[in-house]
């Protein structure tokens, strides 16, 4: 158990500089990016915002913890929940950065099909999630 704790601490330690960098970038983001700038990208139009969120999530990568922090902060900046959901789902399910490794080890066709499907599903999952959440609240 102690070894597992050490391994977890080590894994977290490896991810921490990236997380800290993201937090520092978010600090800059809060001071330098205005709500007006954000509303130019995320217009509030459901489908367009979701696709933009998915696209940004797909080309980003790394630990999921980072996507939750960015997503949570974007919500505070009034970016729609559906766009943020698409962003965090695509962040982990679509792997543009890992694509070369996935294609080399598991096959090019498999990697292509899986990533394209994951991108489409990130849009559908986020819309379904937010619609359901709105309906029950």
């Amino acid at each position: 158990m102690l070894i597992s704790f050490y391994k977890a601490l080590k894994a977290f330690g490896t991810a921490f500089p990236v997380l800290l960098s993201v937090i520092l970038l978010l600090g800059l983001f809060r001071s330098f990016v205005s709500s007006r700038m954000l509303s130019a990208v995320f217009t509030g139009e459901l489908f367009q915002d979701t696709v933009i969120g998915s696209l940004i999530g797909s080309i980003s990568g790394g630990n999921a913890v980072t996507s939750y922090v960015i997503g949570g902060e974007l919500i505070k900046e009034n970016v729609s929940l559906v766009a943020v959901t698409a962003f965090i789902v695509a962040w982990v399910t679509v792997g543009i950065i890992q694509f070369p490794a996935e294609a080399a080890i598991l096959g090019k066709r498999f990697a292509c099909v899986r990533n394209i499907l994951s991108f489409i599903l990130s849009i559908l999952v986020s819309i379904a999630t937010v619609k359901t959440l709105t309906a029950i609240q």
């Binding site: 597992s4 977290f12 001071s31 330098f32 899986r114 999630t129």
Partner: protein
């Protein structure tokens, strides 16, 4: 990390007030999520202790049947560490007869991170987590079936 420090130093030359505000905002975010981060480390240790590639290979390998689909969902959710570390194991399992659809299901469900639950709940709430997880499980099975169908069609043509 270094590039961010340089960016801060560079911006400080032109907008010192805004940079100070940024540092304060970053500190505020870090303090806010700190308890969740501690919980994440503890949950990661528990996952490491109870789940390893051998366990995964035992349950979603060749001949796992319908049970394999469900197990691919759960083992995917419980798996941890960088995704590329799992590729060689998945290739071995595929060579031993694991369905490609199950590999897709496993990879999709890695998106559901139980150890990160405290942070997701902190930002988005429990109802959001429950609904999102439900839809993601459904999506993973749909993806697995489509992958299986496409891969099957290509193998039949060969």
């Amino acid at each position: 990390m270094c590039s961010i420090v340089f960016l801060y130093l560079f911006l400080f030359l032109f907008e010192p007030e805004k940079v100070q505000k940024s540092l304060k905002a970053s500190g505020h975010i870090l303090v806010h999520i700190f308890p969740a981060l501690i919980l994440i480390i503890l949950l990661m240790a528990l996952m490491d202790y109870f789940v390893n590639p051998k366990t995964v290979s035992k349950y979603v390998g060749k001949g796992s049947g319908i049970r394999g689909w469900f197990l691919a969902v759960f083992t995917g959710m419980l798996s941890h560490g960088p995704i590329y570390l799992w590729y060689p194991l998945l290739r071995n399992l595929r060579n031993q007869g694991m369905k490609r659809g199950l590999i897709a299901v496993f990879l999709y469900n890695r998106a559901i991170k139980i150890p990160l639950l405290p942070l997701m709940v902190h930002y988005f709430g429990i109802p959001f987590f429950v609904i999102l997880t439900g839809y993601m499980i459904i999506a993973s099975i749909a993806e697995g079936h489509i992958v299986e169908m496409i891969e099957g069609r290509f193998s039949n043509q060969m």
